[in-house]
Symmetry: C2
Subunit: 346 residues, 2 copies
């Protein structure tokens, strides 16, 4: 099977946006607070809302999408701690319902109610709830200030309470920023990619996985700038007297294939070990158009992986399925329970 | 000849650092202000200080380095407007002296006395002085706040007074951040690369070169994440109804080859037109070691370009010399005056 590990719910029904409007309007005028967290969205509406994703799955040949709320919609820098708690719960509940309605097509990943400057312990109740609901991972935002980078680096003990739970629950975290409120930093064109690059460098500087050998991070968008500058990162690690990156980071850090042209995916396959590459497209996401140079959607990343000539059949299995089952063990067990075990590791 | 367009003076003699210590100490204790901007550094000391660069030029086969003050040393977020004026002047004067002493090896690029939040007009006197001294370009910092991105994007009219002068003087700007004072953002491993990516995206969003068709920007470090995500940027531009990137940006925006492994340079040569690639190594710079996988210095980027099999002789000339002469017209004229004209354009 083909598992796409990075899809966001970017086709939400209007009532979710109406709820969010009321919720944020209430910051200025408390009288506008939504009267209920019941959005009145029917199961039929939910199934209808993800038809674009189902269509792309069929057309492009993927089976299952690991599905989480819209990344830019997390808006950790908007609202306040209490608002973010409610917003995360409402957003995650929709994901949970979709994945329950369409279990062969979607597996759930949740957002966390982070807030800039707030103690990270505030996210733990929602994280526990996600674990109980069967979510297979979470998105963790390294910059809840939305483009100003006001949080301590991911290696700081500030984050440790979350890591302890992620390890206990066997849930990996995709390191994914939300929207940018910084006018100098465009969200999908700069902040997302910078977030990936910055997170990787934070991990390189530290020694986090000595404290958490069971912790797993997925760095999306192909790892930001990292594979393109792989020599730079190997060289900086060497100057810093760190172990080789393979030892230092690659047992715990993985990259997805959300890179929207063949030369980028070719580069990635050359420098990043195949065990660390997970297939993903981020559809329906940051780039929606058709590439006039190929006649295909930019984000139809399966085509790029299919064109890699150097991959063996075993390599392809790892990128499309095996690595996802290893990095997301709860997903693997869920699929096995449904009669879809993975190949035995060679 | 082989022109390396990106070298910083990272081997400064001790008296420069002592001056800087006194200058910054004086922020807390005015009594510690340096008594003079005469550092007492002899010509012999200056020539001695750049022996590492000369040795690398000889060993690696480059001829001329476009040379500017240490990027992380610009420290625009440190000090204040008055301090930064003096610091830029002192730093630029050393570059000027080195380039005068060793004109066959170095051509001068200057730093600007930017300060976060200060009117950009404050840099104009130093810019005029640089022009009079024969500098061929400047480094322009898109984030003088040092990792917090508090300035308006490069397309904002805030920056226009500098652009008017750069066009008038025929000086290109390398868009180069300085050090980071943000503990989440490492300087050479995240801030530099993010700076490149962010600047490119700012330019993509705007329409700056319609107002300044003669303005030229060099985005260093291979353009940050941009070539690796070239499909993403083409797709985002398309979604934004911008012209093709070639039309929209590539008449004015150029990338250097400071990418420290062969696969990165190969990718760059695949997606970025050869007219937009300028040879550079940033030596002696961000990565100082020898790559155990090749036995050569990571930043010996000439080796990577030499290994590109797809380049014609004319392409190689462009990357190593021709593009530099075109983007830095003052350099071209300076070389021509010294009896070293470039090849006539075909």
């Amino acid at each position: 099977m083909i598992i796409d590990i990075h899809g966001h719910y970017t086709t939400e029904p209007a009532p979710l946006h109406q709820f969010r409007d009321k919720q944020l309007a209430a910051l200025a005028d408390p009288g506008r607070k939504p009267s209920s967290t019941d959005l009145g969205i029917s199961d039929e509406q939910l199934v209808q809302s993800v038809q674009p994703q189902l269509k792309f799955q069929t057309e492009r040949g993927s089976d299952l999408t690991i599905f989480s709320p819209r990344a830019s919609g997390m808006g950790h820098h908007v609202g306040n701690e209490a608002v973010n708690q409610v917003w995360s719960r409402v957003s995650n509940d929709l994901i949970h319902r979709i994945c329950t309605l369409l279990p062969d097509n979607f597996a759930p990943v949740g957002q966390l109610p982070q807030f800039p400057g707030a103690p990270i312990e505030g996210v733990l109740p929602e994280l526990e709830r996600l674990q109980q609901l069967g979510f297979v991972g979470v998105n963790l935002n390294p910059d809840p200030s939305g483009g100003y980078w006001k949080s301590p680096p991911l290696t700081d003990r500030y984050w440790y309470p979350v890591y302890e739970k992620l390890v206990e629950y066997e849930m990996p975290a995709m390191i994914h920023v939300t929207g940018s409120c910084n006018p100098a930093v465009h969200f999908t064109g700069a902040h997302y990619i910078n977030g990936d690059t910055t997170a990787f460098m934070q991990l390189l500087q530290g020694n986090l996985f000595k404290d958490f050998p069971g912790l797993r991070f997925v760095i999306p968008h192909g790892g930001g700038a990292v594979p393109f500058h792989w020599g730079r990162y190997r060289g900086i690690a060497q100057d810093m007297k760190k172990p080789l990156l393979r030892e230092h980071l690659l047992k715990n850090v993985f990259f997805d294939t959300c890179v929207y042209h063949l030369p980028g995916i070719e580069l990635m396959a050359k420098v990043i070990p195949v065990d660390n590459i997970l297939f993903a497209s981020e559809m329906v996401g940051a780039v929606k158009g058709i590439d006039p140079e190929t006649g295909h959607y930019y984000d139809d990343t399966k085509r790029y992986v299919d064109q890699l000539k150097t991959l063996s059949d075993a390599d392809r299995y790892k990128i499309f399925e095996g690595n996802a089952r290893r990095v997301y063990p709860r997903l693997d067990r869920m699929l096995a329970r449904r009669g879809k075990p993975g190949r035995k590791a060679a």
